[in-house]
């Protein structure tokens, strides 16, 4: 049994990396990954919110939407739950733990429109995971997101010193780097 959980984690982090293989959460990946420090902050915020959101949406799916047979309301229900959850987390963190709020605060509003959160919440339903598996799956995906973000930020910090052709400066060069990184992650295919 434990073996299966390890496979879920490794699969989520390396083989089907959420950013580099499944293309979820590209906006923050491109937007806030110019420094390693902000990448770590964003990774932490996503880990926190993704796990919470998956737990809450899983419960809503199985105890509200399925008993009333209104699964087609999934998209509307999920996006509302995630949006209000992010607001609530922000308010609670501000009161309870100002230090953590200082570290994660600026990233929280960005997370509502991060498709990785909604994507993973829908994926665990599609894969028919139970609650424990869903939580493990979301932790693995968030770790994969953080890993990709931090590696990418590390590379981008060094790219400032390079002499890049005029037309490729900025986003195009970053996209090429992301492509090469995705190529490297393809090497993990077949591990699970």
């Amino acid at each position: 049994m434990e073996y299966e959980y390890i496979l879920i984690i490794i699969g989520a982090i390396f083989v089907n990396n959420i950013v580099l293989a499944q293309f979820l959460g590209i906006c923050p990946f491109m937007g806030v990954s110019s420094k390693v420090k902000t990448a770590v902050g964003m990774g932490g915020a996503v880990l926190f919110v993704m796990t919470l959101a998956v737990i809450v949406t899983w419960i809503i799916m199985h105890y509200v939407l399925i008993p009333f047979e209104i699964q087609y309301m999934q998209t509307i229900a999920y996006i509302l739950v995630i949006a209000s959850l992010v607001q609530m987390v922000e308010i609670i963190l501000k009161k309870m733990s100002p230090a953590l709020y200082q570290a994660l605060g600026v990233f929280l509003p960005l997370i509502t429109t991060n498709c990785a959160i909604l994507g993973v919440a829908i994926l665990v339903i599609q894969k028919e995971f139970n609650l424990l598996k869903s939580v493990i799956f979301s932790i693995g995906n968030a770790a994969g997101f953080a890993l990709a973000l931090i590696i990418f930020a590390g590379i981008r910090e060094h790219m400032d010193k390079l002499n890049i052709p005029e037309g490729m400066k900025g986003i195009p060069a970053s996209l090429v780097v992301a492509g090469i990184l995705a190529l490297a992650f393809m090497g993990f295919a077949g591990m699970v």
């Binding site: 509307i76 509302l80 829908i122």
Partner: protein, 192 residues
């Protein structure tokens, strides 16, 4: 305002993908072939057109403080409609696009146009803006899909041009990033 200019700005001048770099997740995720790109683009166009129309119709009724949640609910309703209609009439395409259909909700272009344009302009202008931006998005996705299909399997819209295997890497994840990188660089060059 010149409505023709309003309509055509989405194609090159303010193209949501190539210039504004919004909605990168579906752009990279579904463009393994031209037809997938076109399907995703048209689905997004429908949502964008309808949400822009409805939001500009009721913009005076929505209190300013709850405008973002209201926009999200309106968008999510149209996404659900698209999701159900596609599942019923084009099940093969629906299965190919998969997770990215519900994720139109968190596509930054849709909420972005609602907030930046539809909540401030007349109904007719908003409809034209939604249609133009949506078709610009569909245009970008079709081009990227066509490039990847052409290089990845030497085919276009499913018709094989050369009867051998293509450069597989362009169909896989790295090809998406690198293909988009060069297209963005080319469009920037044209715009200059």
């Amino acid at each position: 305002m010149n409505q023709w200019k309003n309509f055509t700005k989405g194609f090159i001048k303010e193209n949501p993908v190539f210039i504004l770099l919004l909605g990168l997740c579906p752009t990279l995720g579904v463009t393994t072939s031209a037809i997938n790109g076109l399907g995703m683009g048209l689905a997004t166009t429908f949502v964008l057109l309808m949400s822009n129309t409805v939001i500009s119709l009721i913009k005076n009724v929505i209190p300013n403080k709850v405008r973002i949640p209201s926009f999200i609910v309106i968008i999510a309703s149209f996404v659900t409609i698209v999701d159900l209609v596609m599942a019923a009439y084009v099940p093969a395409l629906h299965a190919q696009l998969g997770l990215f259909i519900p994720l139109i909700v968190v596509n930054c272009i849709v909420l972005g146009r609602a907030e930046a344009f539809a909540s401030k302009n007349t109904v007719l202008s908003s409809m034209i803006d939604g249609l133009g931006m949506g078709l610009g998005f569909a245009f970008a996705l079709t081009i990227l899909g066509a490039v990847r299909e052409l290089l990845g399997s030497y085919a276009i819209f499913g018709y094989k041009l050369i009867n051998t295997d293509g450069m597989l890497v362009f169909v896989l994840a790295p090809g998406a990033f690198i293909g988009l990188a060069y297209l963005v660089a080319i469009v920037r060059r044209i715009n200059k």
